[in-house]
């Protein structure tokens, strides 16, 4: 039997199982902590840093933190909210994110967070990098312009034999995510679709297949990201 612990988020007393991931524990208590790189069911990596909260007044990522008894968490201080907004703006500055021409528009978590934080333009200079779109794969398209390097595909998608399909290449500003030609060769349609869906943005697309729901009627076209948790 699991033990329940009491902890505090922004002054609100919360309850959850001991050792549960803070993001999930907060969700159970109707509190939304924004994230991009976290995905339920796959090991967290803490790379986008958007879910940074204060735990006993020290910064930590909520995706890599497990709740313990009497933990004192702050998630919505003005500084933290400004930091999150800054991270989203940094991602827009770094890549080439042109929402009007993106297949993922309306289902994109980066776009949805930008709406939530009312971002019209990034405060940081735009890089306008020259990046490629890889289309050699029989089933997948990898658009490096849109990739935010969150590692969800690397961590969450393995082939039938449990082998890696996606991995990082290079480092720093040249960091990229590559697809292995061998291990990805015979992936099923279902796995290809899973890869597309695990991607928070439109960086992985399945070839020759459109989204069923038209733009304008998608998940975040009407509802602010996280509102489904906050308005329980």
């Amino acid at each position: 039997m699991s033990t329940f612990v009491k902890f505090i988020i922004d002054g609100k007393i919360c309850l959850s199982e001991e050792g549960k991931q803070l993001i999930e524990a907060a969700k159970e208590n109707d509190i939304y902590i924004p994230t991009l790189c976290n995905y339920p069911g796959i090991p967290p990596k803490g790379s986008c840093r958007i879910c940074t909260v204060l735990i006993n007044n020290r910064p930590a990522t909520a995706c890599t933190t497990k709740v313990t008894e009497n933990m004192d968490i702050k998630t919505s201080t003005p500084e933290l909210e400004d930091f999150r907004k800054a991270v989203i703006e940094l991602l827009f500055s770094e890549g080439n994110h042109f929402c009007p021409s993106c297949e993922r528009s309306g289902n994109c978590e980066l776009q949805a967070l930008a709406y939530k934080y009312r971002i019209a333009v990034s405060r940081f200079p735009y890089f306008f990098p020259e990046r490629t779109i890889e289309s050699w794969h029989p089933k997948l398209i990898k658009d490096h312009n849109r990739c935010i390097l969150c590692k969800r595909c690397i961590r969450g998608i393995k082939n039938n034999e449990g082998k890696t399909i996606f991995a990082y290449g290079r480092r720093g500003q040249y960091l990229e995510i590559n697809i292995d030609p061998e291990t990805s060769k015979n992936i099923s349609d279902e796995l290809a679709e899973q890869a597309m869906n695990i991607c928070p943005v439109g960086a992985i697309l399945v070839k020759e297949k459109g989204f069923i729901t038209p733009i304008g009627k998608r998940k975040y076209d009407y509802n602010i990201i996280g509102s489904e948790i906050e308005n329980q």
Binding site: P59, L91, R123, I148, T164, R171
Partner: protein, 599 residues
């Protein structure tokens, strides 16, 4: 080629956690790692090629295409630039007939730049096929290229004017000099290998050792200053059938070179410290993580390890004691500053890209191969040996309240006597400047603790080197008044962090580029006062990065603005906020004019 690859993989028993060694050995044999080679390794180890590329492409000394029979890596550090790197670079280029970043068409010579190679006391320096060539001049550079064209071997090109001390050992034969300017009472005092081991075998238990180290208040010498005794104690109590002791010799902080000298002159002191740590913690395996820039020492260090085995100071039954087994292997890096961070270092030693881990768990609980692992700095191990020999009381008589004992400092830049100084904690910056023969009235700034530390002005030269005042991992770069601080120092450091970010955390990956771009803009004379305000404001976002590199990567800018605001204000004073200073009319209409003129 296939045979070479298979032989190397066999040497490491097909163990994918030894991928770094496999890649290093194959590159040594074949010169570079081609796509075909990657495919062969992938098949032999049964891991996807994309994972091999993930490791390979992370480190800047691995090549995926030929980089020349002779590969020259010229140091791009601040002090190298102070001492005439540009002229040396020009000489290399003129003589070789190519630009940096290129390889000669005949595949003979490749010219590249690299981050600090730990030779700030003898710049400009270059690594040529892993061999250091310090104190270069344009004449020497031209001569080197001519000898390459004549087909001379690296040994011939080096000549025989080897450096002092063990630098001229037959297994090292390096041109590097030690430049030990001051020997202190702890590290560079008299030492007989094996004495401390003899002492613990005879009279000390593992808890005795930990107690003694705790009583000495020894703090880690890598920069963070974590109490060593406590680290050992946690590791000793940690659950685990196997435990590891790592020595962090990935000294990458620009301006730091003390570990180079310690490893050259006192390798047995370092290794003995690891043995003692192993005894205290209950570990049987030690790994020296040696930065690639110091790979020229490897054969010599392997030889030293063998000597220690022969003398019963390593291996089984150390000091004749049953059950006291400990051995050390050397793990080389391949060029990544971030691997100096302990969890990134562990990842790298496991054959992966050097990306820092999330903590907890800390390495003392779950480190190398998920086993309890102690990671300590080279200097920390040396100090521990002396504490065991002479006692914590002896040690506590030196230094200050919060910082006991001595610190080995790497001093470089605009001074008469750059080199190594072992001093008691508590000396002021002024004291060190005097020792190094720097004239205070000619000094603009001192960079304390490297780029991740701080850039201080004359007002603070009275400050004391100690954890309670000016904490430092041990380097001082002296910056003369003749230097352009923003261009020669701040820009170089921001470029360094941009190059060395692992890229995993968004603020670090992106803001290091933003900072470099804005500093460049200021250097071009296009900066505005709002740029300076932004640089100050945005650094707060870096505090939320995962590791120390990310958290300190804007320090060069922030501390320079804090202490030299007038220099920044001066450089932007003529630029109004109301127009785009970077706009260049000629540049903007260039394409139009080209097309227009064609018609």
């Amino acid at each position: 080629m296939g045979n070479t690859i298979n032989a190397v993989i066999k040497k490491y028993n097909g163990d994918e956690t030894r991928l770094m060694d496999i890649l290093l050995d194959i590159q040594t044999e074949l010169g570079y790692i081609s796509d075909w080679t990657i495919e062969q390794i992938s098949k032999a180890l049964d891991i996807p090629a994309v994972e091999i590329i993930q490791t390979l492409s992370f480190y800047h000394f691995f090549h995926r295409e030929p980089k020349g029979k002779y590969t020259i890596y010229l140091n791009d550090s601040v002090v190298s630039n102070f001492n005439g790197k540009d002229e040396v670079k020009k000489a290399f280029e003129e003589e070789a007939g190519i630009k940096f970043g290129q390889v000669t068409p005949d595949g003979l010579i490749g010219l590249f730049e690299t981050s600090c190679i730990g030779m700030s006391d003898q710049e400009p320096a270059a690594l040529i096929n892993e061999q250091p060539f310090p104190s270069l001049t344009p004449e020497k550079a031209k001569k080197i290229i001519r000898m390459m064209k004549d087909g001379k071997s690296i040994e011939d090109i080096k000549g025989n004017k080897y450096g002092e001390g063990n630098n001229s050992h037959y297994l090292m034969r390096s041109l590097v000099n030690n430049n030990i300017q001051e020997r202190g009472p702890v590290i560079f005092s008299d030492y007989t290998p094996g004495e401390a081991i003899k002492k613990i075998v005879k009279e000390l238990s593992s808890t005795d050792i930990i107690e003694e180290i705790k009583k000495s208040y020894l703090r880690g010498r890598g920069g963070a200053g974590f109490p060593t005794g406590l680290k050992w104690e946690i590791a000793r109590k940690a659950q685990g059938d196997i435990k590891y002791i790592f020595c962090n010799a990935d000294e990458g902080e620009p301006g730091t070179f003390k570990d180079r000298v310690i490893l050259t002159e006192l390798p047995k002191l370092v290794f003995e410290g690891m043995v003692i740590a192993g005894y205290a913690v209950g570990a049987k395996y030690g790994i020296l993580y040696l930065r690639n820039e110091y790979r020229y020492m490897r054969d010599y260090l392997e030889h030293v390890l063998q000597e220690m085995r022969d003398d019963g100071l390593l291996g089984k039954f150390i000091g004749g004691k049953k059950g006291f087994d400990f051995d050390i292997r050397i793990q080389c890096g391949a060029g990544a500053y971030v691997c100096g961070e302990e969890s990134a270092l562990i990842e790298s030693a496991e054959g992966k890209r050097g990306e820092p881990r999330d903590r907890p768990p800390f390495p003392v609980e779950s480190g190398y191969l998920n086993k309890p692992t102690v990671v300590n700095n080279v200097e920390t191990f040396c100090t521990a040996v002396k504490i065991i020999l002479y006692g914590s009381e002896w040690y506590n008589r030196m230094g200050t309240k919060e910082s006991r004992g001595t610190k080995v400092l790497s001093v470089s830049g605009d001074c008469e006597r750059p080199g190594i100084y072992e001093v008691e904690w508590g000396f002021s910056v002024n004291d060190i400047l005097r020792k190094a023969g720097a004239k205070t009235h000619e000094i603009l700034a001192v960079q304390v603790g490297g780029p991740s530390g701080s850039c201080i002005s004359e007002k603070e030269f009275g400050r004391v080197l100690a954890y309670e005042d000016l904490a430092t991992g041990g380097s001082l770069i002296i910056i003369g008044k003749k230097r352009n601080l923003i261009k020669d120092v701040v820009l170089n450091f921001q470029h360094f962090f941009m190059e060395e970010s692992c890229g995993s955390c968004v603020p670090c990956r992106v803001l290091t580029v933003v900072y470099k771009k804005i500093i460049e803009k200021i250097v071009r004379g296009e900066g505005k006062s709002s740029d300076i305000e932004n640089l100050q404001k945005w650094s707060v976002y870096m505090k939320n990065n995962r590791c120390g590199l990310g958290q300190t990567a804007t320090n060069p800018t922030i501390t320079a603005i804090k202490n030299f605001k007038y220099l920044f204000d001066e450089s932007v004073k003529n630029n109004s906020e109301s127009f785009n200073t970077s706009f260049n009319e000629d540049e903007a209409v260039k394409e139009y004019i080209e097309i227009f003129n064609k018609k």
